[in-house]
């Protein structure tokens, strides 16, 4: 029998295996530890940078652009929050893009192709769609597609659209002013974007805010002197007149006669600033401030005012305009017909070129130039807008007898419709107001004295005769109100001098005559057809705009009515 031992026997193979396994594990541990050490020391800066790149974001918080309102707070330009969607082609899953494209109403294959191209170029940012409505953006982001992000943005809307387009202007897709007030006051309206550094997760959620470099400051609101009600009716009437006369363009300006505040500033043709796809550069021209016109006969009241202000002439002074023309430096200056002997009032009423030529020659170039300059003719710009026209008034030494004569009835000099309206404020008390478009808290700025109050009253009375049956502007009359003004019909300048059949029809006027409240200038450029005189084309527009504007402003009628308002059941 063999004896069996119960004691475990030492097995060299077992020990060897145990040692080997232990060694392998130890080696693996050493490798892991070594790798850890390398990652934490040698590769640490690189890994830290890459980690930051994937999670830390420099985020810009866009500031809301200030609202532009009319004088009563009615919004004319409003920035509304929208979302700009973008994606990182390196992170996005191409399979998920068709659904996103469908939400955004863009062709799926176009999106996939552009993402693949961007990914192959190594780009990490492309716009998916800019300025998306928030509810649509929410739908897209709710899909939680990795690599698709949404940033806050603002889109500019113009509630009054075409009516205030030229004045308010327009911004581009980046919210930068391009035209009008949006351009002129871009820095003021824009505000300051906020900047912060945050840690974001894969879906764009902020999980940690590291630092705030700047806090977003919204742009301040800006109130204009514009009265949207007057702006609308001026726009409506001007548009109708331009269409009726098949005119090339037109403009109208309403100015408060006492403060110089611009209440309406409209141009035709206009454009819809809410639809950038249909913008045409020629429609974007603000003709009321950017176009220069020869004011024609609308300058005659200034020549006459200069004469009266000199003290050498009086409203009753008689001037013989026979035989209806006068020769100046081999040129003939004509009236429509031989008006014979006219007093100063008659010169305005009949719009006599011969009469004002006589007055201008008697006064001399220096006096006329000085008076016109005080009235604001030839000024560089009145609002400080980009693209604002610079007025033209020749210096006295340039005004020889012929140029002096033509300047006296509005040829050889140039103004914008707004400058002309500004000049006409001088007839409301003798002091020319500086026009302004922005509401200000400060007191009324000092005005420029042009003529005595007495002379301005005399001119107002003369201007009223223009709208009488005897005058050239009878169609400018407004029922219930005493209205004064001056018609102007100027030949347009072409390549070969003055055109025979291209005119600018102008009417500049003021109302009510007893206590002037509004100055209105209407310009219709190149009216076609039989009617082209200022009294035929521009005066009716003046009448319609002025009548409605005075009623809207609740200005008391200054022509006493023969009839009284009849109330049903009224006893007395």
């Amino acid at each position: 029998m063999t004896e069996t031992s119960l004691e475990p026997q030492e097995n060299s193979i077992v020990r060897w295996r145990f040692t080997l396994v232990l060694a392998v594990f130890g080696l693996l541990l050493a490798v892991v530890l070594g790798r850890l050490v390398i990652l934490h020391t040698v590769d640490q800066p690189f890994l830290f940078e890459q980690g930051e790149k994937r999670t830390v974001r420099e985020e810009v918080q866009p500031a809301s652009r200030g609202m532009i309102t009319d004088r009563f707070g009615t919004p004319l330009a409003v920035s509304t929050p929208v979302v700009t969607l973008w994606l990182n082609p390196q992170q996005v899953n191409i399979q998920q893009l068709p659904a996103v494209a469908k939400d955004l109403d863009i062709p799926a294959h176009t999106l996939v192709k552009s993402v693949e191209r961007a990914a192959s170029q190594g780009r990490s940012f492309i716009y998916l769609k800019r300025q998306v409505e928030p509810d649509v953006a929410e739908k897209v982001l709710a899909r939680r597609v990795a690599g698709v992000y949404g940033d806050e943005d603002f889109r500019r809307f113009y509630p009054a659209a075409e009516i205030t387009a030229h004045t308010v202007g327009i911004v581009n897709i980046d919210g930068k002013g391009q035209e009008g007030l949006e351009l002129a006051f871009d820095d003021y309206l824009r505000g300051h974007d906020g900047e912060r550094k945050v840690v974001k997760d894969l879906y764009g959620n902020v999980i940690k805010q590291l630092e705030v470099n700047a806090v977003a400051e919204n742009g301040p609101d800006m109130a204009l002197t514009i009265d949207l009600r007057l702006q609308y009716l001026a726009y409506r009437e001007l548009k109708a007149a331009v269409q009726q006369h098949h005119a090339k363009s037109g403009s109208a300006v309403i100015v408060d006669a006492h403060t110089g505040e611009v209440l309406a500033l409209v141009s035709q043709p206009s454009y819809n600033p809410n639809n950038r796809a249909t913008l045409k550069p020629e429609d974007m021209r603000n003709r009321a401030i950017a176009d220069l016109i020869e004011p024609g006969s609308t300058m005659k009241p200034f020549t006459v005012a200069a004469a009266l202000n000199s003290g050498r002439f009086f409203p009753s002074t008689q001037i013989d305009t026979s035989p209806g023309y006068v020769r100046v430096k081999n040129k003939t200056i004509r009236d429509h017909r031989d008006y014979g002997v006219l007093d100063i009032t008659g010169i305005i009423t009949k719009s006599s070129n011969v009469g004002v030529t006589y007055l201008a020659h008697k006064l001399g170039a220096e006096v006329i130039w000085d008076f016109f300059t005080k009235a604001g003719i030839g000024q560089p710009g009145v609002l400080g807008f980009p693209g604002e026209a610079v007025g033209v008034l020749p210096y006295p030494e340039q005004l020889d007898s012929l140029r002096l004569a033509t300047a006296s009835f509005g040829y050889g000099l140039a103004v914008s419709p707004l400058q002309l309206a500004q000049s006409y404020t001088a007839f409301a008390g003798g002091c020319r107001q500086s026009v302004r478009l922005i509401m200000r808290d400060e007191d009324k700025p000092a005005c420029e004295p042009v003529m005595s109050a007495k002379v301005s009253r005399q001119i107002l009375d003369m201007l009223e005769t223009v709208t009488s049956d005897k005058g050239t502007g009878s169609r400018a009359r407004v029922e219930g109100y005493r209205v004064g003004g001056k018609t102007g019909t100027a030949h347009k300048v072409g390549r070969g001098g003055y055109e025979d059949s291209a005119y600018t029809a102008v009417f500049a006027g003021i109302a009510p005559i007893s206590d002037p409240d509004l100055v209105l200038v209407v310009v219709i450029d190149e009216p076609q057809g039989q009617e082209y005189y200022g009294g035929e084309v521009a005066a009716p527009v003046f009448s319609r705009i002025m009548g409605q504007a005075l009623r809207l402003r609740q200005v008391a009628p200054d022509i006493p009515s023969k009839n009284t308002l009849q109330m049903a059941g009224g006893g007395a």
């Binding site: 009615t74 919004p75 929050p81 509630p159 009516i163 805010q209 609308y232 219930g480 409605q548 049903a568």
Partner: protein, 84 residues
């Protein structure tokens, strides 16, 4: 010496705990701020939408058309019998 070491270790532990609490507090506040900011954004959206809607409804051209066509209103005349 042991007491001082113990106190210092105590400070270390307490300050570590305070820091953890502060970080957590900061994250909580960030969440609150984020929620408030989102609320502000939504209110701004709503406000501007309402402003635009009001402007559209009160647009002079629209009111003018409605007054003339639907309400048969017309421009006032100088002398007018208001009703018989």
């Amino acid at each position: 010496m042991n007491a001082l070491q113990g106190t210092l270790w105590g400070f270390v532990v307490v300050s570590a705990l305070v820091q953890i609490a502060q970080v957590q507090h900061h994250r909580d506040l960030l969440q609150v701020w984020q929620a408030a900011d989102k609320q502000r954004y939504l209110l701004l959206q709503e406000h501007t939408r309402l402003v635009l809607e009001k402007s559209t409804l009160l647009a002079n051209g629209r009111v003018d058309q409605l007054a003339r066509k639907r309400l048969n209103m017309k421009d006032p005349e100088q002398v007018q019998v208001l009703s018989e």
